[in-house]
Symmetry: C2
């Protein structure tokens, strides 16, 4: 028999993911901050529960995917939190947080879970709304490997690239590697486009020359064409990427490592945020890089005056 799955968080990612579980025949219970956002899931066959605690009382596995580490803390450690269910009234043995969050918080929840008899996995994802919709997410998992094996059938409904990465926090660390790589790759993509335009080239023709070779990347193929169309709608929100970079930079500080590209990206995205772009897509970085160049021209003109 399939395990009963409690689901917390019905944003753009969570809705699609929980929907796949309902379709795959899992018994799904759902809780989220505003019940309205769960309606599609409820009419598809999921059942409403009014707290993480009540989800834990009635489901074998509970999965969360929410916004920020503070939301994760509330869900697990709050008064009506997952870990607050009294043991003899609790069905939940395994809890999985798929939010992109702090490795240290993941380790803390793993330990707290152990104390209350719940195995905790950190399992953030990449692949965005499209990956969530198509069930092709990459899922990066930290925690105990035997627990990972037990819930693998659930992950397989949600993603196509599923990797156990090591002890508690390793899933989050892997996601931080992912975001660190993206950060500088985005700078390169934006700087290439700024250069192309200033040099008087046709950027679309330039992309034909450069996208398929050593300069090629997911960002260049998927986001550069949007920039050139002036389309800054979010695939992935600036504000979420900034949160992720802040977590990664915090971890770097704790590990005593210095990543200048990541630091630079964070600084450039600050410009995007301070000009009101936090709800735009990450490709809005282009405007900040382009703006720098205008400032540079102004500075030069000032020097001459």
């Amino acid at each position: 028999m399939k395990p009963a799955v409690g689901w917390i968080g019905t944003g753009v990612m969570g809705s699609s993911m929980a929907g796949h579980l309902v379709e795959a025949g899992f018994q799904v219970g759902v809780f989220t901050r505003s019940q309205g956002k769960a309606e599609a899931l409820l009419s598809a066959g999921a059942t409403w529960y009014d707290s993480p605690m009540s989800l834990a009382q009635h489901h074998d596995i509970v999965i969360s995917i929410v916004g920020y580490p503070t939301d994760v803390e509330e869900i697990y450690l709050g008064e009506l939190g997952l870990f607050s269910a009294v043991e003899d009234q609790r069905k939940c043995r395994i809890a999985i947080d798929m939010t992109t969050s702090q490795p240290a918080l993941a380790r803390a929840l793993y330990e707290k879970g152990k104390d209350s008899g719940i195995s905790f996995l950190d399992a953030p994802v990449s692949g965005g709304d499209v990956g969530a919709k198509n069930g092709t997410l990459s899922i990066m998992v930290g925690g105990d490997e035997d627990v990972f094996r037990e819930v693998a059938p659930v992950f397989e409904v949600l993603g196509s690239q599923i990797q156990f990465q090591g002890s508690a926090g390793s899933g989050q660390h892997t996601k931080m590697v992912n975001q660190t790589i993206i950060a500088s790759t985005m700078i390169g993509m934006c700087e290439g486009l700024v250069y192309a335009r200033k040099a008087g080239l046709d950027p679309l023709t330039v992309l034909q020359s450069v996208s398929g070779g050593a300069a090629g990347s997911w960002s260049l193929s998927n986001l550069a064409p949007r920039v050139l169309k002036g389309d800054f709608d979010p695939g992935f929100f600036v504000e979420h990427f900034v949160k992720d970079m802040d977590i990664a930079l915090d971890e770097c500080e704790q590990m005593g490592i210095d990543l200048p590209g990541l630091t630079l990206a964070r600084k450039l995205y600050e410009k995007v945020v301070s000009s009101g772009g936090e709800k735009l897509g990450t490709q809005a970085l282009y405007s900040a890089v382009d703006e720098l160049s205008h400032e540079s021209v102004k500075r030069d003109n000032g020097d001459r005056g």
Copy 2:
């Protein structure tokens, strides 16, 4: 009848490229600084000439691919240079420089060529030794479009992605876009690997999670595995990439634009060069990024002491 093609430069790129022309049935003449390096071509059927000028006297098209802009100047403007052939003793009507070189030099050679009745194209390539060997280079062309059309059959023997990018210098500018994008993408790749190692992850398992998604790039798929094997052999030499970044940064200064990612990459590669890595492959950037982190740890320890 196929045009006779004179070829200048038999490095790792030029040898393969000229070889394809011989195989395709072009009559190929060759000149290079050290005749020994042309031997494979000569035994394949190419003919030796003792200067760019003599190549120009006997071939319809002359193509150069050498190391540095100073080499390009010598080939075109030197005493025995291509443009020094007296007009009535000259067969050459079209000259093509495929070296990665300065856009300004390309424009100057285009103008000089016009004065002496030779049409000049700048046509740098990307795709490296493998692309040259397999005839799958990306060729980015600047100059007059009718001349580009005339020599397209020659380009088609050498590459698989052939784009006319605009007026003289546009090929070089496009290559600078390519290198600018690569510069920051390389930083992202190296920082991701440094983070993964310091966080105690298994970097190969991390690559399985991150290579196929939004963090994906040619660098990540092709160079990160080499870094993890400790293989820093050159696909593309550090010293050549540094030359390219210097050209791009010069152009940025002239255009009045500020590209902080490119500037950072140039600074990091300086560390590679100053520790003797100029003949390594560009993936040697990893060592410089890793070294930064050791310095950061030392600094922190110093602060505590």
